[in-house]
Symmetry: C2
Subunit: 623 residues, 2 copies
């Protein structure tokens, strides 16, 4: 018999603790302490309460918990469990039927891991979808995590322990993240398409207007129609545009859109249904379906599939909202095949550079030829016709995987974006004088590398004391450097981002001024070329507030954060109010990498948050 949240909230403490028995190895105190915070509005709230209890307990209890897990050492362990999950859990994992070589390899990894970290390797072997990792995935993860710093790996073990507890809790409550599972599977299904040469490598690469790219567009279009969208077409730049029409509202308090959603703002819907769908405004949403080379499966695509899942729910319930929902799968955001980043969303804001049509890819194929090959009109008129009239839109919202470590470190599934950071990038070189490392006294050097070292540390320190700003020297090289030569030149890149244009400009100005001062003091010179500059896109307050209300309604602690990466919302920002919602990324939030990952549980929460935002809008905009 599954437990219910009401049952847990109502039970005496000891009885409630019994209900949660077995979530954490030999550490029932975690659930017991969390239960003092009852009542919980959602399973997510309960989960996070336990995360906080362990976090605040400090390092020793955390290590004790990690060490309570059996080691992955030898055959006996393999036949039981990596992580002491139940037999049921174990059968979903892939560590059965190991060859003797694999056993020996795992034992060696285990010994090395223990020797380095001082605790056993913990992995939630049921994985992000709950259906189990393969043997190869488990071993690769072990190999990779062995090299992590010890403190990082301790935190990673705790995150895996919390993930195991999350799965156990779902089992206890008979909860399945069905919406999230569907969305997770849609990503897998779309990731079948990859550019020539990458399939053999098992890598995902979908660049603009390749066969794989067009297959993705066709599949998205078909899927939209199958899920209940009224229209779905591929536009003149390859965007997939699906529309779910507005409709008259029922003369009653609406049922909640999504089962399990906590209390939304209650409806104030009118009863007349007087506005026709044709005059209703539209909510615009979406993200991109192209990828970087050897990229992740969720970057962009999550922002298409989440609203698609909401439309599916609406359609299944036979419901219409007082506004239309337009979901766009943007064809191009990553600028991989052509240097035309944001081509897809830019077409909607009227920012298409005519010169782009003559730009060639690495094989010499122009953008125009690629468009024609894809059956697109490839004319400026057709592209310009895509520009949206903002008066017809309520605004733009975008869901995206975080692509950063913040939510993962906080063990939070969702985060509300405050602003897409402004950015500026430079490529530079300091030119000093190469000289003999043995014979040139310290006070007679013009060391180009030391000058750049000062710059890197200044940028780091200055950004760290500037709120949510960041500054990075990502490329750094002494060209043809020798062990016994004082560097005569040092090349570097500089990437600066801040929540507002003014903050970015002040930060960049300080760093560039400091570079000049460093060079003057050291008697060296420098070059500095600005290669990119993008304005900040602060979230529209009313729209950010809707996301915040949606997250709060799920019982998930609210965390606001800036977006350090650029997104399609940056472009739409030029035309209409926008706000974004981030979903936690596993593996430190790594992105542009096959390790990019998030769980179907997090996706489930995201779909429900999106649905809640729709309910809020419906309540605000009665037809």
């Amino acid at each position: 018999m599954p437990i219910t949240l009401d049952q847990l909230n109502a039970a005496p403490l000891a009885e409630a603790a019994l209900l949660l028995d077995g979530l954490y190895e030999h550490s029932p105190w975690i659930a017991e302490q969390a239960l003092k915070q009852r009542p919980f509005a959602s399973l997510a709230a309960l989960k996070h309460a336990m995360v906080r209890v362990l976090h605040e307990a400090g390092v020793e209890p955390q290590l004790a918990l990690i060490r309570a897990h059996p080691e992955l050492a030898g055959k006996a362990m393999v036949s039981q469990s990596l992580t002491a999950e139940s037999t049921h859990e174990q059968t979903k994992a892939g560590l059965t039927h190991c060859t003797p070589e694999e056993f020996a390899h795992i034992q060696r990894l285990n010994a090395d891991y223990n020797a380095k970290h001082g605790f056993p390797f913990i992995l939630a072997v049921r994985g992000p979808r709950g259906t189990g990792l393969s043997k190869a995935e488990i071993i690769a993860t072990f190999e990779r995590r062995l090299h992590n710093p010890v403190d990082f790996e301790r935190a990673e073990c705790l995150r895996n322990i919390h993930r195991i507890a999350e799965i156990r809790l779902n089992d206890k409550f008979g909860f399945e993240p069905t919406l999230g599972n569907a969305v997770w599977d849609w990503h897998e299904n779309l990731a079948r398409h990859t550019d020539p040469g990458y399939a053999e490598l098992g890598q995902l690469t979908v660049t603009y207007l390749t066969d794989a790219h067009r297959a993705c567009a066709a599949q998205l279009q078909q899927q939209m129609l199958a899920l209940g969208f009224d229209e779905a077409h591929i536009d003149a730049v390859g965007n997939v545009v699906g529309v779910y029409h507005a409709g008259p509202q029922p003369n009653a308090v609406r049922p909640e859109l999504v089962e399990g959603l906590a209390r939304a703002s209650t409806s104030s819907a009118r009863t007349d249904g007087s506005d026709s769908p044709a005059t209703a405004k539209t909510l615009l949403t979406g993200s991109h379906y192209d990828t970087v080379r050897n990229g992740g499966k969720y970057d962009g695509r999550l922002g298409i599939f989440v609203p698609m899942a909401c439309v599916q729910q609406l359609n299944q319930a036979g419901r219409r909202l007082p506004f239309a929902i337009e979901v766009v799968g943007f064809a191009e955001e990553e600028g991989q095949r052509y240097k035309a980043t944001f081509l897809g969303s830019g077409a909607l804001t009227g920012h298409f550079n005519p010169d782009w049509l003559d730009q060639q890819d690495a094989d010499g194929i122009t953008l125009r030829a690629a468009m024609q090959h894809a059956g697109l009109p490839a004319t400026l008129d057709a592209i310009r016709a895509l520009q949206r009239d903002p008066s017809k839109y309520l605004g733009f919202v975008e869901v995206h995987i975080e692509q950063g470590p913040v939510l993962n470190e906080l063990d939070l599934p969702l985060g509300v974006v405050t602003s897409i950071n402004a950015s500026v990038r430079y490529l530079g070189e300091v030119i000093g004088m190469a000289s003999h490392a043995g014979t040139t006294p310290m006070d007679r050097r013009r060391d180009a590398a030391c000058a750049v070292a000062e710059l890197a540390l200044h940028a780091e320190q200055r950004a760290a004391s500037d709120g949510d700003s960041v500054a990075t020297v990502g490329m750094l090289q002494v060209p043809n450097g020798s062990i016994n030569v004082v560097p005569g030149a040092c090349q570097f890149s500089l990437d600066i981002r801040a929540p507002s244009d003014a903050q970015r400009d002040a930060l960049a100005q300080d760093i560039v001024t400091q570079l000049q001062a460093i060079c003057d003091r050291r008697g060296v010179r420098h070059t500095l070329e600005e290669t990119m500059r993008a304005a900040a896109a602060p979230s529209a307050p009313a729209w950010q507030a809707r996301w915040e209300a949606a997250v709060a309604a799920l019982g998930v602690p609210l965390h606001r954060l800036p977006s350090g990466a650029g997104h399609d919302a940056m472009k739409l920002h030029e035309l209409m109010p926008q706000a974004m919602l981030f979903v936690r990324g596993l593996n430190s939030g790594i992105s542009h990498n096959p390790l990019e990952s998030t769980t179907s549980d997090d996706m489930d929460l995201c779909v429900r948050a999106f649905a809640h935002l729709l309910e809020q809008l419906a309540a605000e905009h009665p037809n």
Copy 2:
């Protein structure tokens, strides 16, 4: 009528100033002020006095002097002079008969140079040998110096002005550096031999036992015999060994070895000549004749030719000293073809690694095969037989081009070495965690490059406050770095040198400890491999004192400095007392580079210093 030093020293100030008229453009005050320091023991002393006067006058008079020189702009200038040297001087330079394209190029260089530096380009067009630079050399120098920092280039112009004055002074005094000219020409003559493939490029490369290398050995051997050495042979590792025997001393105060040498310690030679040459001890000297790839002409070879010039002088005078002089041209010091650095001098100290015989060069030729091809016995017995018995030697002295900027900056021709620095080298890597430069907050980064930046600056600061020590991060690279990725790894080299082993060890220990502290603080890890370690070779005090006396006797201000580079004397140090004398290098003392250069005037002083050291020894060791 040439002026004499006695005449200058004796004349009233105004008259003496007239004698020196025209040395510096529109700046007679330089000579006038210097004359207040009369009497001068040598032309070198007078020259340096004028250098000091201008140095101490400060920047404004220096700029005025530089600007008093006509610009190298257009045909008119070309037909006159680059540097306003006399017509006689100009005819020796190569800027006549320029093509229109060359004129245009020079005018452009001139405009760019003036725009950047704010003063005209000054070059002593008669060059280091006094016979004139070629047109190509002048233009290449102009192009190169255009890019120097302004303050460096101001100093370089002053150095060229002093060189012009030096040549003018020689003309006034009817002085020709005949010994230095001969030694300079010997270098040119030996530099005809270069390894296959380098001749076409006009580059000097002489690596161990190549045809060019063997041609050098044969030429050195023949030249030694022609100059009056009693014996000269090529030994089992390819060293060229020339010996000038000891002999009975004349029953009188000896004439000075070299004309123009200031008063040496007077002789206390005995009259009996009882010690036979066979029982006399030997002074060992020399340096290497191999080169790095595309190297300079003077590195090593100067230390062979200078004592050869002294033996020539002795032989021409029919003189014998109470000790033999053994001049060795070491076959291998640079470790270019085989990793067997100091093979030549190491053979004399018994340090030949038997494994080296099986080492292969880039073409797969073993050292043994190369030796056999060169007609050498290639047996360990033959090589071990080269080991010297220190009881038969007085000690080892070595002359070498400085390979550093110190003497050039001080405008001093000679410097006495206090110690060959101890050294230790490392290759290392810091491993952090690569992450997105936009989405990773500053306080959650594990930036490998910033860690290495801290290391580089710490090493720089720590060495700068450690006397004559140096520390260098010469190689620095973020592998596959991207503008928008926080560096996950950073590779570096570390080269540390100090005057004593203890000082080196303390310095290295501090830097390595700091690296660990940096990594701990930043949550990153590192690898560090020691790739080389060499002990210090402090100069034997009595021998260093002899060099100091020799330099002082020339009227050259004494400057002591450590050797940051390794030299053959390091090896001989293990067997007998040693001390080195450095000769100024032009172009900031650059070495291992075709720009390596020194003047025949400096070489002349060096030959006379060496001769003075021989006289001191003769006085100390009467036969």
